[in-house]
């Protein structure tokens, strides 16, 4: 038990920076470049943590609290996620609501930190982030409702647990639609192409990256680390939803889970390489589309 708990928290804490590394490597391969080392994100975090930070005279404590609350919220949300082949450390009926709202808490404080700088540039980013998030949240909840209906449980560990295999047998079309919707939400929530481009932030059209423009040094490290942990969270949801957990043994389940996550990162990288970023006005349409998909899935299950 202690080993499993340790393994779970360890995965949640140590694995995240690997995912952006894989994504970037895949993108580089598509573009015909060699790309940065797989562990580049770890190096970046280490470098940023050793640096000092510059603060604007306009800012207050809210600006410094933003990254800390953001990371803490994502981490505590991760405690409710069955990250490996195990039920989560924290599981209770309705825990998915807490997970979604913790992510929302992190976003709220990140947006406030952006507004604290008084820069119109970051105001723009914050406005877009919160606006698009309010469209992504219903889609995410609909996916959870579909899972709850299909498996008959209300906790994430149950939804993504042993009952899932049966559910795939009974209602594969609905779960497939929900998985696609969840992937779209994951791209939007993690600021990936086609919603946002994580590589640029000096463009007037960006969302997440302009919000964190004024953060530097350790604060930026917390933000980048939190972002990769959020990517891992959504990846874990998708991996558990699609692969299930066919292995009984601890190490087999862990191995499959990590492999699945790497596959998710490859998929994200491939999506980013073959697609262009959408115009901002198209983003809401895509998110509403995801809601509609999962709504279809729910209707399939409720009829």
């Amino acid at each position: 038990m202690a080993l499993r708990a340790l393994l779970q928290v360890g995965l949640l804490l140590l694995l995240p920076p690997l995912l952006p590394g894989v994504v970037n490597r895949v993108k580089a391969t598509f573009a015909g470049r060699r790309g940065p080392p797989l562990l580049q994100s770890y190096y970046d975090l280490g470098k940023l943590l050793r640096k000092g930070a510059v603060y604007s005279r306009t800012t207050t404590w809210v600006f410094r609290a933003g990254p800390a609350v953001g990371l803490a919220a994502v981490f505590t949300a991760g405690l409710m996620l069955p990250v490996a082949g195990e039920p989560a450390l924290v599981r209770f009926p309705g825990d998915f609501v807490l997970l979604a709202y913790l992510l929302a808490l992190g976003r709220f404080f990140t947006a406030l930190a952006a507004l604290d700088t008084g820069s119109s540039f970051e105001g723009m980013g914050a406005a877009r982030e919160v606006s698009f998030a309010s469209l992504a949240e219903p889609a995410l909840f609909l996916c959870f409702v579909v899972l709850a209906r299909a498996t008959g449980t209300l906790s994430l560990s149950g939804m993504l647990g042993p009952g899932l295999a049966h559910a795939w047998g009974d209602s594969a079309p609905a779960l497939l639609l929900a998985a696609i919707a969840l992937f779209v939400v994951a791209l939007a929530e993690n600021a990936r192409i086609p919603v946002d481009d994580p590589n640029t932030h000096l463009e007037l059209t960006m969302i997440h990256e302009v919000m964190v423009l004024d953060h530097s040094g350790p604060d930026l490290a917390l933000i980048l680390y939190g972002a990769s942990m959020k990517l891992l969270l959504f990846g874990a949801l998708l991996v558990r939803l699609t692969l299930g957990m066919p292995f009984r043994s601890l190490w087999g389940a862990e191995g499959l889970f990590v492999l699945g996550l790497l596959g998710f990162a490859v998929l994200v990288g491939a999506t980013e390489s073959v697609m262009a970023r959408l115009r901002l006005t198209r983003v809401p349409q895509m998110l509403v589309g995801a809601s509609v998909l999962s709504m279809f899935a729910l209707v399939l299950l409720l009829r």
Binding site: Y55, F75, T76, M80, D95, D116, S119
Partner: protein, 664 residues
């Protein structure tokens, strides 16, 4: 004992304002004493409620009364105790706030009058909640409406306050009219006006639907359900802030209480009752927050958020009603607990936010958020407390708003575990609806907190602000602490909620123990995660402080190379909300006033947007003006001759008589 506590408490609260006129030569003492009396009365009432909520307290008092139909019947059961706690404590805290915000020493008679009606409104709300007889209920209801009318027009020298007060009074009486209809029909059907005789009322058929319709209109106006919310934004914006806190925090809840008390009489209500309330709630939630997003008057914005939160409460109660028609204890408990806990939570965080808005108004002299900004530097405690309220109202953990929204989501998903094919399963759409409402609310409060307290001052007024005196900060701090307490230890409130739900649902005591027990177990996990979150934030903060000190330079905000940013370049509240307001364009229909700059050296340019109220400014006022126009046309046909009007009256009577005799 409990009865004595409650009645003495209410009497103290009702009469508390009398110290003002009695001691008008020593205003500070007079106001202090009336505040103390109100607080003492509230403390007694809360003690009585606590005895009822956490143990077998409660009482029924019955006195014959010489009024026809009436009897002096008072009852304190867990359901009324649950409402009595916020109804008494929020006015008490607001009156402490009023010591500094609306001092008698400076304002004289205006403040004396306000305190008189403040006590009266508190007492009459208490009477509404304790009344166990329809006539007594209506007496309390009308006293409350008139006292609140006087409170809204406290600043009678401002025309918009007068206008808002009259609209409130008119709307309130439309609601009371519907209540008269309900009470008359129900009273004649049951042969008594005592609530005791009404239990087990049949709700079947068209008669039941009419009764429920009267209830929805009568109590919906007071609670502010869309489309009956139209009086609310104006009244809450025009009243002094500590009055707005009471009106928005608890006065609206008397509508919810009435709806709960009266639907509790129905025996096996049809599931369409609950589904209607649920749908109205979802509509109120989404429209309320969408309208809020488009406002730039801080208090108007908060008032629209009350519409949103009443919507969430109505969703919970709708779920509970459906549960009663299906005989499902878990649905009843989860829906009721979510809705009723949100009543308490909203009372806490909304009054906190209104008091915060009052402090902002007090300091900067404006409520227009586009003229504020950067207030967090000069008023750090107010900013922090407002942030607590904002986080709570968005339903974000670790605060109380999350707990009640979580219960409502659980309730809405519970419908799916009923036998397959039951339409009630579509209640599950409440989960994404709540997520949408929560997302929009977070966007709106990011806008408010960001434009008011963060960034740079956008006007001269905003640079000269000061922190509020401690009499204003103390009540806000207490409200914020209560928000945090419920958020961190939600399991504590499960037992009172279970008692109240059993009382309302007519269930045997203990029959809801199963769902309540599992909710309490889950709630313990919620507190564990909330604590983990706070610990994680604390650790990260410690880490940041404990880092080897590097020189931390301060500089300007990075402006992409532009070195002379001004506050005029900041993102405004309107631009922040623009994407979402644009998305709701077809519903909100913003008025846009645009004169574009022309030529090489443009003289002037202007851009202004405003979103008027959907119902008041788009439907009711045009209809009223049309009626007025018709009346004017009739008047011009009979210019000022009274005998002609008399002939008209006579003709109308004759027509009615003819109708009665020929076609009846």
């Amino acid at each position: 004992m409990t009865a004595a506590l409650a009645i003495v408490g209410l009497a103290l609260a009702t009469g508390s304002g009398l110290f003002g006129p009695a001691l008008r030569r020593r205003p500070a003492l007079g106001q202090g004493l009336s505040c103390a009396a109100l607080c003492a009365g509230a403390a007694l009432g809360v003690a009585a409620s606590a005895r009822t909520l956490f143990g077998p307290g409660g009482f029924v008092l019955r006195h014959p009364w010489h009024e026809p139909y009436g009897s002096l019947a008072l009852r304190l059961d867990p359901l009324s105790a649950l409402f009595l706690v916020p109804v008494l404590s929020v006015p008490a805290l607001s009156s402490i706030y009023g010591l500094a915000y609306w001092p008698q020493a400076r304002l004289g008679w205006k403040a004396i009058r306000l305190q008189l009606f403040f006590g009266l409104v508190t007492g009459s709300m208490g009477l509404v909640i304790l009344a166990d007889n329809a006539l007594l209920f209506l007496v309390g209801w009308e006293l409350m409406a008139v006292a609140a009318f006087m409170l809204v027009r406290s600043e009678e020298d401002r025309p918009e306050a007068l206008r808002a007060a009259w609209i409130y009074l008119a709307a309130s009486h439309v609601g009371t009219f519907a209540l008269f209809a309900f009470f008359c029909v129900a009273g004649s059907a049951r042969g008594s006006f005592d609530f005791d005789a009404w239990r087990g009322m049949s709700a079947a058929g068209a008669g039941g639907a009419w009764l429920y319709g009267f209830l929805l209109v009568g109590f919906g106006v007071k609670a502010g359900l869309v489309p009956l919310h139209f009086w609310l934004p104006g009244a809450h914006a025009a009243a002094p802030s500590h009055v707005s806190a009471v009106m928005s925090g608890v006065l609206l809840k008397t509508g919810i209480y009435g709806l709960l008390r009266t639907t509790g009489f129905f025996e096996g209500p049809p599931s369409s009752f609950g589904m209607t309330l649920f749908a109205l709630g979802a509509l109120s939630g989404v429209l309320g927050v969408a309208l809020a997003l488009a406002q730039h008057d801080l208090k108007r914005l908060l008032a629209y958020h009350s519409v949103e939160n009443i919507g969430i409460i109505a969703m919970g109660l709708g779920i509970a009603l459906v549960g009663r028609s299906r005989g499902d204890g878990a649905l009843v408990f989860l829906g009721f607990a979510g809705g009723a806990l949100h009543v308490v939570n909203h009372a806490l965080f909304k009054s906190l936010l209104f008091l915060g808005a009052g402090s902002v108004h007090h300091a900067a002299g404006t409520r227009d958020i586009e003229r504020l900004g950067g207030l967090g530097k000069a008023m750090p405690i107010t900013a922090l407390l407002f942030l607590v309220g904002a986080t709570a109202i968005c339903g974000l953990p670790p605060l109380n708003g999350f707990v009640s929204e979580w219960l409502v989501v659980l309730g809405s998903l519970r419908g799916m575990s009923l036998p397959r094919g039951d339409r009630v399963a579509y209640l599950a759409l409440g989960a994404p609806a709540l997520a949408f409402i929560g997302g929009l609310a977070a966007a709106c409060f990011a806008k408010v907190q960001g434009t008011v307290f963060l960034g740079q001052p956008r006007s001269e007024e905003a640079t000269r602000v000061h922190e509020s005196p401690s009499a204003m900060l103390l009540p806000m701090a207490l409200l914020g602490a209560a928000c945090l307490a419920i958020g961190l230890a939600p399991a504590l409130v499960v037992e009172p909620l279970e008692r109240a739900a059993a009382e309302w649902g007519g269930a045997a005591p203990g029959s809801l123990a199963g769902p309540a027990g599992s909710a309490a177990a889950s709630a313990a996990w919620v507190s564990a995660v909330a604590v983990a979150l706070l610990v994680a934030v604390g650790l990260l903060a410690l880490l940041a402080r404990g880092r080897p000190a590097r020189p931390v330079p301060r500089s300007e905000t990075w402006g992409c190379g532009y070195a002379f940013p001004t506050a005029r370049m900041e993102y405004t509240g309107s631009s922040f909300a623009q994407i979402l307001v644009e998305g709701f364009r077809s519903v909100l229909v913003p008025r846009v006033e645009l004169s574009q700059p022309r030529g090489a050296f443009p003289r002037s340019a202007r851009f202004a947007t405003e979103v008027p109220d959907l119902v008041l400014d788009r439907a009711i006022l045009p209809a009223v003006h049309a009626c007025e126009g018709g009346a004017r046309a009739v008047r011009s046909a009979f210019p000022g001759r009274i005998h002609l009007y008399a002939v008209l009256v006579l003709l109308a009577l004759v027509a009615l008589l003819a109708w009665r005799f020929i076609w009846w």
